[in-house]
Symmetry: C2
Subunit: 226 residues, 2 copies
DNA sequence: GTCATAGTCATCGTATACGATTTCGTACTC
DNA sequence: GAGTACGAAATCGTATACGATGACTATGAC
Protein backbone atom coordinates (compact mmCIF):
# COMPACT_ATOMS: atom_id res chain seq x y z
CA UNK A 1 0.00 0.00 0.00
CA UNK A 2 2.63 2.48 1.05
CA UNK A 3 4.66 1.39 -1.97
CA UNK A 4 1.78 2.11 -4.29
CA UNK A 5 1.35 5.57 -2.91
CA UNK A 6 5.04 6.31 -3.21
CA UNK A 7 5.13 5.06 -6.77
CA UNK A 8 2.14 7.19 -7.60
CA UNK A 9 3.74 10.30 -6.18
CA UNK A 10 6.92 9.66 -8.12
CA UNK A 11 5.36 9.01 -11.49
CA UNK A 12 3.08 11.99 -11.10
CA UNK A 13 6.01 14.28 -11.66
CA UNK A 14 6.11 13.60 -15.39
CA UNK A 15 2.53 13.80 -16.58
CA UNK A 16 -0.84 13.18 -15.03
CA UNK A 17 -2.09 9.63 -15.13
CA UNK A 18 -5.20 10.73 -16.90
CA UNK A 19 -2.97 12.24 -19.56
CA UNK A 20 -0.98 9.04 -19.87
CA UNK A 21 -4.13 6.96 -20.04
CA UNK A 22 -5.46 9.20 -22.76
CA UNK A 23 -2.29 8.98 -24.80
CA UNK A 24 -1.94 5.23 -24.33
CA UNK A 25 -5.45 4.35 -25.32
CA UNK A 26 -5.41 6.75 -28.24
CA UNK A 27 -2.17 5.28 -29.53
CA UNK A 28 -3.51 1.78 -29.25
CA UNK A 29 -6.66 2.71 -31.13
CA UNK A 30 -4.80 4.49 -33.89
CA UNK A 31 -2.16 1.80 -34.35
CA UNK A 32 -4.79 -0.89 -34.45
CA UNK A 33 -4.01 -2.69 -31.19
CA UNK A 34 -7.56 -1.90 -30.18
CA UNK A 35 -9.45 -2.36 -33.41
CA UNK A 36 -12.95 -1.03 -34.06
CA UNK A 37 -15.58 -2.69 -31.94
CA UNK A 38 -13.04 -3.63 -29.29
CA UNK A 39 -14.56 -3.40 -25.89
CA UNK A 40 -12.76 -0.98 -23.61
CA UNK A 41 -13.35 -2.17 -20.07
CA UNK A 42 -12.35 0.60 -17.72
CA UNK A 43 -11.10 -1.64 -14.95
CA UNK A 44 -9.05 -3.73 -17.32
CA UNK A 45 -7.37 -0.74 -18.94
CA UNK A 46 -6.75 0.73 -15.52
CA UNK A 47 -5.02 -2.46 -14.46
CA UNK A 48 -2.97 -2.63 -17.66
CA UNK A 49 -1.73 0.91 -17.12
CA UNK A 50 -1.27 0.49 -13.41
CA UNK A 51 -3.67 3.26 -12.47
CA UNK A 52 -7.15 3.40 -11.03
CA UNK A 53 -10.31 3.72 -13.07
CA UNK A 54 -10.95 7.41 -12.52
CA UNK A 55 -8.23 8.74 -14.83
CA UNK A 56 -9.03 6.04 -17.36
CA UNK A 57 -12.64 7.02 -17.34
CA UNK A 58 -11.69 10.62 -17.94
CA UNK A 59 -9.42 9.64 -20.82
CA UNK A 60 -12.14 7.56 -22.43
CA UNK A 61 -14.58 10.44 -22.24
CA UNK A 62 -12.11 12.72 -23.94
CA UNK A 63 -11.58 10.19 -26.68
CA UNK A 64 -15.32 9.98 -27.03
CA UNK A 65 -15.45 13.73 -27.61
CA UNK A 66 -12.91 13.23 -30.37
CA UNK A 67 -15.02 10.53 -31.94
CA UNK A 68 -12.57 7.70 -31.47
CA UNK A 69 -14.62 5.93 -28.84
CA UNK A 70 -18.29 5.14 -28.47
CA UNK A 71 -19.57 5.30 -24.94
CA UNK A 72 -22.83 3.99 -23.59
CA UNK A 73 -24.12 4.61 -20.13
CA UNK A 74 -23.91 1.62 -17.82
CA UNK A 75 -22.81 -0.52 -20.73
CA UNK A 76 -19.31 0.52 -21.57
CA UNK A 77 -16.97 1.92 -24.15
CA UNK A 78 -16.00 0.45 -27.48
CA UNK A 79 -13.62 1.61 -30.16
CA UNK A 80 -15.73 3.58 -32.62
CA UNK A 81 -17.25 2.08 -35.71
CA UNK A 82 -16.11 0.22 -38.77
CA UNK A 83 -19.25 1.08 -40.63
CA UNK A 84 -18.39 1.67 -44.32
CA UNK A 85 -20.72 4.66 -44.34
CA UNK A 86 -18.78 6.10 -41.45
CA UNK A 87 -15.61 5.62 -43.43
CA UNK A 88 -17.09 7.45 -46.38
CA UNK A 89 -18.28 10.36 -44.28
CA UNK A 90 -14.93 10.65 -42.57
CA UNK A 91 -13.09 10.69 -45.88
CA UNK A 92 -15.50 13.23 -47.28
CA UNK A 93 -15.05 15.50 -44.30
CA UNK A 94 -11.32 15.08 -44.43
CA UNK A 95 -11.23 15.96 -48.11
CA UNK A 96 -12.99 19.22 -47.35
CA UNK A 97 -10.79 20.10 -44.41
CA UNK A 98 -7.60 19.06 -46.16
CA UNK A 99 -8.52 21.06 -49.21
CA UNK A 100 -8.99 24.15 -47.10
CA UNK A 101 -5.80 23.49 -45.13
CA UNK A 102 -3.78 23.14 -48.29
CA UNK A 103 -5.24 26.28 -49.81
CA UNK A 104 -4.51 28.28 -46.68
CA UNK A 105 -0.97 26.94 -46.50
CA UNK A 106 -0.17 27.43 -50.15
CA UNK A 107 0.94 31.07 -50.01
CA UNK A 108 3.36 30.18 -47.21
CA UNK A 109 4.91 27.18 -48.91
CA UNK A 110 8.45 28.01 -50.06
CA UNK A 111 10.72 26.39 -52.62
CA UNK A 112 12.41 24.33 -49.91
CA UNK A 113 9.06 22.85 -48.90
CA UNK A 114 8.20 22.05 -52.50
CA UNK A 115 11.57 20.35 -52.95
CA UNK A 116 11.02 18.29 -49.83
CA UNK A 117 7.54 17.28 -50.95
CA UNK A 118 8.91 16.39 -54.33
CA UNK A 119 11.53 14.11 -52.87
CA UNK A 120 8.90 12.38 -50.77
CA UNK A 121 6.80 11.95 -53.87
CA UNK A 122 9.76 10.48 -55.73
CA UNK A 123 10.18 7.93 -52.98
CA UNK A 124 6.50 7.12 -53.24
CA UNK A 125 7.03 6.38 -56.90
CA UNK A 126 9.82 3.99 -55.94
CA UNK A 127 7.47 2.24 -53.57
CA UNK A 128 5.22 1.48 -56.50
CA UNK A 129 7.98 -0.37 -58.34
CA UNK A 130 9.12 -2.23 -55.20
CA UNK A 131 5.53 -2.71 -54.14
CA UNK A 132 5.72 -1.42 -50.58
CA UNK A 133 2.20 -0.34 -49.67
CA UNK A 134 2.94 0.28 -46.02
CA UNK A 135 5.79 2.66 -46.73
CA UNK A 136 3.73 4.25 -49.49
CA UNK A 137 0.94 5.06 -47.06
CA UNK A 138 3.38 6.57 -44.59
CA UNK A 139 4.99 8.69 -47.29
CA UNK A 140 1.62 9.83 -48.49
CA UNK A 141 0.95 11.15 -45.05
CA UNK A 142 4.33 12.86 -45.01
CA UNK A 143 3.67 14.46 -48.36
CA UNK A 144 0.45 16.01 -47.22
CA UNK A 145 2.01 17.06 -43.94
CA UNK A 146 4.41 19.23 -45.91
CA UNK A 147 1.46 20.87 -47.59
CA UNK A 148 -0.37 21.50 -44.33
CA UNK A 149 2.29 22.44 -41.89
CA UNK A 150 2.20 26.13 -42.69
CA UNK A 151 -1.55 26.40 -42.33
CA UNK A 152 -2.03 29.43 -40.08
CA UNK A 153 -5.41 28.37 -38.75
CA UNK A 154 -4.88 26.05 -35.78
CA UNK A 155 -8.48 24.85 -35.75
CA UNK A 156 -8.25 23.55 -39.26
CA UNK A 157 -4.95 21.90 -38.55
CA UNK A 158 -6.47 20.27 -35.51
CA UNK A 159 -9.39 18.98 -37.56
CA UNK A 160 -7.00 17.53 -40.12
CA UNK A 161 -5.13 15.65 -37.43
CA UNK A 162 -8.30 14.37 -35.86
CA UNK A 163 -9.49 13.21 -39.23
CA UNK A 164 -6.29 11.36 -39.75
CA UNK A 165 -6.44 9.70 -36.38
CA UNK A 166 -9.95 8.61 -37.02
CA UNK A 167 -9.09 7.37 -40.45
CA UNK A 168 -6.03 5.56 -39.18
CA UNK A 169 -8.14 3.77 -36.62
CA UNK A 170 -10.52 2.65 -39.33
CA UNK A 171 -7.91 1.97 -41.95
CA UNK A 172 -6.06 -0.46 -39.76
CA UNK A 173 -8.91 -2.84 -40.44
CA UNK A 174 -10.16 -1.71 -43.80
CA UNK A 175 -7.15 -0.45 -45.67
CA UNK A 176 -6.39 -2.12 -48.92
CA UNK A 177 -3.86 -0.85 -51.38
CA UNK A 178 -5.18 0.20 -54.80
CA UNK A 179 -2.24 0.00 -57.24
CA UNK A 180 -3.91 1.78 -60.13
CA UNK A 181 -5.04 4.62 -57.95
CA UNK A 182 -1.59 4.87 -56.36
CA UNK A 183 -0.02 5.80 -59.69
CA UNK A 184 -2.59 8.47 -60.31
CA UNK A 185 -2.12 9.72 -56.79
CA UNK A 186 1.59 10.29 -57.29
CA UNK A 187 0.89 12.14 -60.52
CA UNK A 188 -1.68 14.31 -58.82
CA UNK A 189 0.82 15.17 -56.13
CA UNK A 190 3.15 16.55 -58.76
CA UNK A 191 0.30 18.52 -60.30
CA UNK A 192 -0.53 19.95 -56.90
CA UNK A 193 3.06 21.04 -56.40
CA UNK A 194 3.15 22.73 -59.78
CA UNK A 195 -0.08 24.48 -58.99
CA UNK A 196 1.41 25.80 -55.77
CA UNK A 197 4.63 26.84 -57.47
CA UNK A 198 2.68 28.72 -60.11
CA UNK A 199 1.08 30.79 -57.38
CA UNK A 200 -2.39 29.65 -58.30
CA UNK A 201 -5.39 31.05 -56.47
CA UNK A 202 -6.64 29.53 -53.22
CA UNK A 203 -9.84 28.32 -54.85
CA UNK A 204 -7.99 26.41 -57.50
CA UNK A 205 -5.60 24.78 -55.05
CA UNK A 206 -8.39 23.92 -52.70
CA UNK A 207 -10.38 22.24 -55.41
CA UNK A 208 -7.39 20.27 -56.65
CA UNK A 209 -6.49 19.09 -53.15
CA UNK A 210 -10.05 18.10 -52.43
CA UNK A 211 -10.49 16.25 -55.69
CA UNK A 212 -7.27 14.40 -54.99
CA UNK A 213 -8.63 13.09 -51.71
CA UNK A 214 -12.07 12.39 -53.18
CA UNK A 215 -10.59 10.35 -55.98
CA UNK A 216 -8.82 8.20 -53.42
CA UNK A 217 -12.08 7.69 -51.63
CA UNK A 218 -13.82 6.72 -54.85
CA UNK A 219 -11.08 4.23 -55.61
CA UNK A 220 -11.49 2.63 -52.20
CA UNK A 221 -15.21 2.40 -52.67
CA UNK A 222 -14.92 0.99 -56.16
CA UNK A 223 -12.56 -1.65 -54.85
CA UNK A 224 -14.64 -2.62 -51.87
CA UNK A 225 -17.74 -2.93 -54.04
CA UNK A 226 -16.02 -5.26 -56.44
CA UNK B 1 -25.76 11.31 4.65
CA UNK B 2 -28.41 8.67 4.05
CA UNK B 3 -30.54 11.39 2.52
CA UNK B 4 -27.82 12.35 0.11
CA UNK B 5 -27.39 8.80 -1.06
CA UNK B 6 -31.11 8.37 -1.54
CA UNK B 7 -31.35 11.58 -3.52
CA UNK B 8 -28.43 10.48 -5.64
CA UNK B 9 -30.03 7.17 -6.40
CA UNK B 10 -33.27 8.84 -7.37
CA UNK B 11 -31.83 11.47 -9.65
CA UNK B 12 -29.60 8.93 -11.37
CA UNK B 13 -32.61 7.49 -13.11
CA UNK B 14 -32.87 10.35 -15.57
CA UNK B 15 -29.34 10.97 -16.83
CA UNK B 16 -25.90 10.50 -15.38
CA UNK B 17 -24.60 13.31 -13.25
CA UNK B 18 -21.59 13.65 -15.44
CA UNK B 19 -23.97 14.16 -18.35
CA UNK B 20 -25.88 16.78 -16.47
CA UNK B 21 -22.73 18.54 -15.41
CA UNK B 22 -21.56 18.55 -19.01
CA UNK B 23 -24.80 19.99 -20.29
CA UNK B 24 -25.07 22.57 -17.54
CA UNK B 25 -21.57 23.92 -17.89
CA UNK B 26 -21.80 23.93 -21.66
CA UNK B 27 -25.05 25.84 -21.57
CA UNK B 28 -23.64 28.38 -19.18
CA UNK B 29 -20.61 28.90 -21.35
CA UNK B 30 -22.62 29.25 -24.53
CA UNK B 31 -25.23 31.57 -23.07
CA UNK B 32 -22.57 33.76 -21.54
CA UNK B 33 -23.17 33.06 -17.85
CA UNK B 34 -19.60 31.87 -17.73
CA UNK B 35 -17.84 34.32 -20.00
CA UNK B 36 -14.40 33.75 -21.51
CA UNK B 37 -11.66 33.75 -18.94
CA UNK B 38 -14.07 32.75 -16.17
CA UNK B 39 -12.41 30.42 -13.79
CA UNK B 40 -14.13 27.09 -13.48
CA UNK B 41 -13.37 25.73 -10.03
CA UNK B 42 -14.33 22.09 -9.93
CA UNK B 43 -15.41 22.04 -6.31
CA UNK B 44 -17.53 25.13 -6.72
CA UNK B 45 -19.34 23.84 -9.80
CA UNK B 46 -19.83 20.52 -8.09
CA UNK B 47 -21.46 22.28 -5.16
CA UNK B 48 -23.64 24.41 -7.44
CA UNK B 49 -24.90 21.32 -9.22
CA UNK B 50 -25.19 19.27 -6.07
CA UNK B 51 -22.81 16.55 -7.22
CA UNK B 52 -19.27 15.59 -6.36
CA UNK B 53 -16.21 16.70 -8.25
CA UNK B 54 -15.59 13.51 -10.22
CA UNK B 55 -18.44 13.92 -12.72
CA UNK B 56 -17.71 17.63 -12.98
CA UNK B 57 -14.11 16.91 -13.74
CA UNK B 58 -15.13 14.50 -16.47
CA UNK B 59 -17.51 17.06 -17.96
CA UNK B 60 -14.81 19.71 -17.99
CA UNK B 61 -12.42 17.42 -19.79
CA UNK B 62 -15.00 16.69 -22.43
CA UNK B 63 -15.61 20.39 -22.90
CA UNK B 64 -11.88 20.85 -23.20
CA UNK B 65 -11.82 18.32 -26.04
CA UNK B 66 -14.46 20.42 -27.75
CA UNK B 67 -12.39 23.54 -27.33
CA UNK B 68 -14.79 25.37 -25.04
CA UNK B 69 -12.60 25.11 -21.99
CA UNK B 70 -8.92 25.55 -21.35
CA UNK B 71 -7.50 23.20 -18.80
CA UNK B 72 -4.16 23.41 -17.06
CA UNK B 73 -2.73 20.74 -14.86
CA UNK B 74 -2.81 21.56 -11.19
CA UNK B 75 -3.98 25.04 -12.00
CA UNK B 76 -7.54 24.75 -13.13
CA UNK B 77 -9.98 25.26 -15.91
CA UNK B 78 -11.08 28.51 -17.51
CA UNK B 79 -13.58 29.26 -20.22
CA UNK B 80 -11.61 29.36 -23.45
CA UNK B 81 -10.21 32.51 -24.93
CA UNK B 82 -11.54 35.79 -26.17
CA UNK B 83 -8.50 36.38 -28.30
CA UNK B 84 -9.57 38.26 -31.48
CA UNK B 85 -7.30 36.00 -33.52
CA UNK B 86 -9.11 33.03 -32.11
CA UNK B 87 -12.37 34.57 -33.15
CA UNK B 88 -11.09 35.08 -36.66
CA UNK B 89 -9.87 31.50 -36.96
CA UNK B 90 -13.12 30.14 -35.64
CA UNK B 91 -15.13 32.18 -38.10
CA UNK B 92 -12.88 31.15 -40.94
CA UNK B 93 -13.20 27.49 -40.05
CA UNK B 94 -16.92 27.82 -39.66
CA UNK B 95 -17.25 29.49 -43.05
CA UNK B 96 -15.51 26.53 -44.64
CA UNK B 97 -17.55 23.93 -42.83
CA UNK B 98 -20.81 25.77 -43.31
CA UNK B 99 -20.13 26.19 -46.99
CA UNK B 100 -19.60 22.48 -47.37
CA UNK B 101 -22.63 21.66 -45.25
CA UNK B 102 -24.85 23.90 -47.32
CA UNK B 103 -23.56 22.47 -50.58
CA UNK B 104 -24.15 18.92 -49.40
CA UNK B 105 -27.64 19.76 -48.19
CA UNK B 106 -28.67 21.71 -51.26
CA UNK B 107 -29.86 18.79 -53.39
CA UNK B 108 -32.07 17.65 -50.51
CA UNK B 109 -33.66 21.01 -49.83
CA UNK B 110 -37.27 21.03 -51.00
CA UNK B 111 -39.68 23.87 -51.80
CA UNK B 112 -41.13 23.68 -48.28
CA UNK B 113 -37.69 24.25 -46.78
CA UNK B 114 -37.05 27.17 -49.08
CA UNK B 115 -40.38 28.69 -48.14
CA UNK B 116 -39.59 28.31 -44.46
CA UNK B 117 -36.17 29.88 -44.90
CA UNK B 118 -37.72 32.71 -46.84
CA UNK B 119 -40.20 33.45 -44.10
CA UNK B 120 -37.39 33.50 -41.55
CA UNK B 121 -35.49 35.87 -43.78
CA UNK B 122 -38.52 38.13 -44.09
CA UNK B 123 -38.70 38.32 -40.33
CA UNK B 124 -35.03 39.19 -40.26
CA UNK B 125 -35.77 42.08 -42.55
CA UNK B 126 -38.43 43.24 -40.11
CA UNK B 127 -35.89 43.13 -37.32
CA UNK B 128 -33.84 45.63 -39.24
CA UNK B 129 -36.64 48.18 -39.29
CA UNK B 130 -37.55 47.58 -35.63
CA UNK B 131 -33.91 47.35 -34.75
CA UNK B 132 -33.88 44.10 -32.80
CA UNK B 133 -30.33 42.76 -33.04
CA UNK B 134 -30.83 39.94 -30.59
CA UNK B 135 -33.78 38.50 -32.45
CA UNK B 136 -31.95 39.07 -35.71
CA UNK B 137 -29.04 36.96 -34.55
CA UNK B 138 -31.35 34.18 -33.46
CA UNK B 139 -33.18 34.23 -36.78
CA UNK B 140 -29.93 34.19 -38.66
CA UNK B 141 -29.07 30.98 -36.89
CA UNK B 142 -32.49 29.57 -37.73
CA UNK B 143 -32.08 30.49 -41.35
CA UNK B 144 -28.84 28.63 -41.69
CA UNK B 145 -30.21 25.70 -39.74
CA UNK B 146 -32.78 25.22 -42.46
CA UNK B 147 -30.00 25.09 -45.01
CA UNK B 148 -27.98 22.56 -43.01
CA UNK B 149 -30.50 20.24 -41.56
CA UNK B 150 -30.54 17.92 -44.55
CA UNK B 151 -26.77 17.55 -44.68
CA UNK B 152 -26.24 13.79 -44.90
CA UNK B 153 -22.77 13.83 -43.40
CA UNK B 154 -23.07 13.73 -39.61
CA UNK B 155 -19.44 14.71 -39.04
CA UNK B 156 -19.86 17.93 -40.91
CA UNK B 157 -23.08 18.68 -39.10
CA UNK B 158 -21.33 18.05 -35.83
CA UNK B 159 -18.52 20.42 -36.76
CA UNK B 160 -21.02 23.11 -37.68
CA UNK B 161 -22.69 22.81 -34.30
CA UNK B 162 -19.42 22.89 -32.46
CA UNK B 163 -18.38 25.94 -34.39
CA UNK B 164 -21.59 27.64 -33.44
CA UNK B 165 -21.21 26.77 -29.79
CA UNK B 166 -17.72 28.09 -29.79
CA UNK B 167 -18.75 31.22 -31.62
CA UNK B 168 -21.67 31.77 -29.31
CA UNK B 169 -19.39 31.56 -26.32
CA UNK B 170 -17.12 34.16 -27.85
CA UNK B 171 -19.86 36.32 -29.26
CA UNK B 172 -21.55 36.78 -25.93
CA UNK B 173 -18.71 39.12 -25.07
CA UNK B 174 -17.65 40.39 -28.46
CA UNK B 175 -20.80 40.54 -30.53
CA UNK B 176 -21.71 43.89 -31.92
CA UNK B 177 -24.43 44.44 -34.43
CA UNK B 178 -23.36 45.83 -37.82
CA UNK B 179 -26.44 47.44 -39.39
CA UNK B 180 -24.97 47.93 -42.86
CA UNK B 181 -23.78 44.37 -43.03
CA UNK B 182 -27.11 43.08 -41.77
CA UNK B 183 -28.91 44.45 -44.80
CA UNK B 184 -26.45 42.85 -47.15
CA UNK B 185 -26.72 39.64 -45.20
CA UNK B 186 -30.46 39.44 -45.70
CA UNK B 187 -30.01 40.09 -49.42
CA UNK B 188 -27.39 37.37 -49.64
CA UNK B 189 -29.75 34.94 -47.96
CA UNK B 190 -32.24 35.51 -50.72
CA UNK B 191 -29.55 35.04 -53.33
CA UNK B 192 -28.55 31.79 -51.70
CA UNK B 193 -32.11 30.54 -51.77
CA UNK B 194 -32.45 31.40 -55.43
CA UNK B 195 -29.22 29.60 -56.15
CA UNK B 196 -30.54 26.51 -54.41
CA UNK B 197 -33.89 26.71 -56.18
CA UNK B 198 -32.16 27.00 -59.52
CA UNK B 199 -30.42 23.69 -58.86
CA UNK B 200 -26.98 25.24 -59.06
CA UNK B 201 -23.91 23.06 -58.72
CA UNK B 202 -22.44 22.19 -55.35
CA UNK B 203 -19.32 24.23 -56.03
CA UNK B 204 -21.29 27.35 -56.73
CA UNK B 205 -23.48 26.99 -53.66
CA UNK B 206 -20.54 26.23 -51.46
CA UNK B 207 -18.68 29.29 -52.61
CA UNK B 208 -21.69 31.53 -52.12
CA UNK B 209 -22.35 30.19 -48.64
CA UNK B 210 -18.73 30.57 -47.68
CA UNK B 211 -18.47 34.08 -49.02
CA UNK B 212 -21.58 34.99 -47.11
CA UNK B 213 -19.98 33.95 -43.84
CA UNK B 214 -16.64 35.49 -44.73
CA UNK B 215 -18.24 38.82 -45.51
CA UNK B 216 -19.80 38.80 -42.07
CA UNK B 217 -16.42 38.12 -40.57
CA UNK B 218 -14.85 40.97 -42.54
CA UNK B 219 -17.57 43.31 -41.37
CA UNK B 220 -16.92 42.38 -37.76
CA UNK B 221 -13.24 42.93 -38.20
CA UNK B 222 -13.68 46.25 -39.98
CA UNK B 223 -15.91 47.40 -37.15
CA UNK B 224 -13.63 46.30 -34.35
CA UNK B 225 -10.67 47.97 -36.03
CA UNK B 226 -12.44 51.28 -36.32
C1' DG C 1 11.90 49.95 -1.36
C1' DT C 2 12.82 45.64 -3.61
C1' DC C 3 13.89 41.06 -4.00
C1' DA C 4 14.33 36.39 -2.32
C1' DT C 5 12.47 32.73 0.49
C1' DA C 6 9.59 30.09 3.27
C1' DG C 7 5.13 28.83 4.62
C1' DT C 8 0.14 28.60 3.98
C1' DC C 9 -3.91 28.05 1.27
C1' DA C 10 -6.57 26.84 -2.59
C1' DT C 11 -7.15 23.51 -5.88
C1' DC C 12 -6.23 19.75 -8.58
C1' DG C 13 -5.24 14.29 -9.04
C1' DT C 14 -6.21 9.79 -7.98
C1' DA C 15 -7.21 5.69 -5.07
C1' DT C 16 -10.67 3.34 -2.86
C1' DA C 17 -15.30 2.00 -1.64
C1' DC C 18 -19.82 1.07 -2.55
C1' DG C 19 -24.23 1.65 -4.91
C1' DA C 20 -26.76 1.25 -9.46
C1' DT C 21 -27.50 -0.79 -13.76
C1' DT C 22 -27.11 -3.90 -17.35
C1' DT C 23 -26.15 -8.30 -19.18
C1' DC C 24 -25.99 -13.06 -19.39
C1' DG C 25 -26.87 -17.63 -17.98
C1' DT C 26 -29.94 -20.87 -15.88
C1' DA C 27 -34.01 -22.92 -14.50
C1' DC C 28 -38.71 -23.23 -14.86
C1' DT C 29 -43.09 -23.29 -17.34
C1' DC C 30 -46.01 -23.90 -21.27
C1' DG D 1 -38.38 -27.00 -27.86
C1' DA D 2 -39.27 -22.12 -27.07
C1' DG D 3 -40.06 -18.45 -24.25
C1' DT D 4 -39.94 -16.11 -19.84
C1' DA D 5 -38.52 -14.94 -15.22
C1' DC D 6 -35.21 -14.82 -11.88
C1' DG D 7 -30.60 -14.26 -10.02
C1' DA D 8 -25.66 -13.73 -10.17
C1' DA D 9 -21.77 -11.55 -12.17
C1' DA D 10 -19.70 -7.90 -14.57
C1' DT D 11 -19.33 -3.24 -15.16
C1' DC D 12 -20.31 1.37 -14.81
C1' DG D 13 -21.24 5.85 -11.69
C1' DT D 14 -20.13 8.69 -8.06
C1' DA D 15 -18.90 10.03 -3.27
C1' DT D 16 -15.33 10.52 -0.20
C1' DA D 17 -10.62 10.87 1.42
C1' DC D 18 -6.14 12.24 1.13
C1' DG D 19 -1.85 13.36 -1.20
C1' DA D 20 0.49 16.51 -4.56
C1' DT D 21 1.11 20.75 -6.75
C1' DG D 22 1.07 25.45 -7.83
C1' DA D 23 -0.19 30.25 -6.44
C1' DC D 24 -0.24 33.65 -3.10
C1' DT D 25 1.39 36.08 1.01
C1' DA D 26 4.13 37.48 4.63
C1' DT D 27 8.55 37.98 6.43
C1' DG D 28 13.22 38.99 6.32
C1' DA D 29 17.68 40.53 4.25
C1' DC D 30 19.90 43.68 1.39
Amino acid sequence: MADTVTAAATSTNAASKSERAYASVKTRIVDGTYSPGYRLVLAKIAEDLGVSVVPVREAIRRLEAEGLVKFERNVGATVAGIDPTEYLYTMQTLSIIEGAATALSAPLIGPADVARARSVNAEMRDCLTHFDPVRFTQLNQDFHSVLFEHCPNPHILDLVHRGWNRLASLRSSTFRFVPGRAHESVDEHEELLQLIESGAGADEIERAARLHRSATLDAYLAQSNS
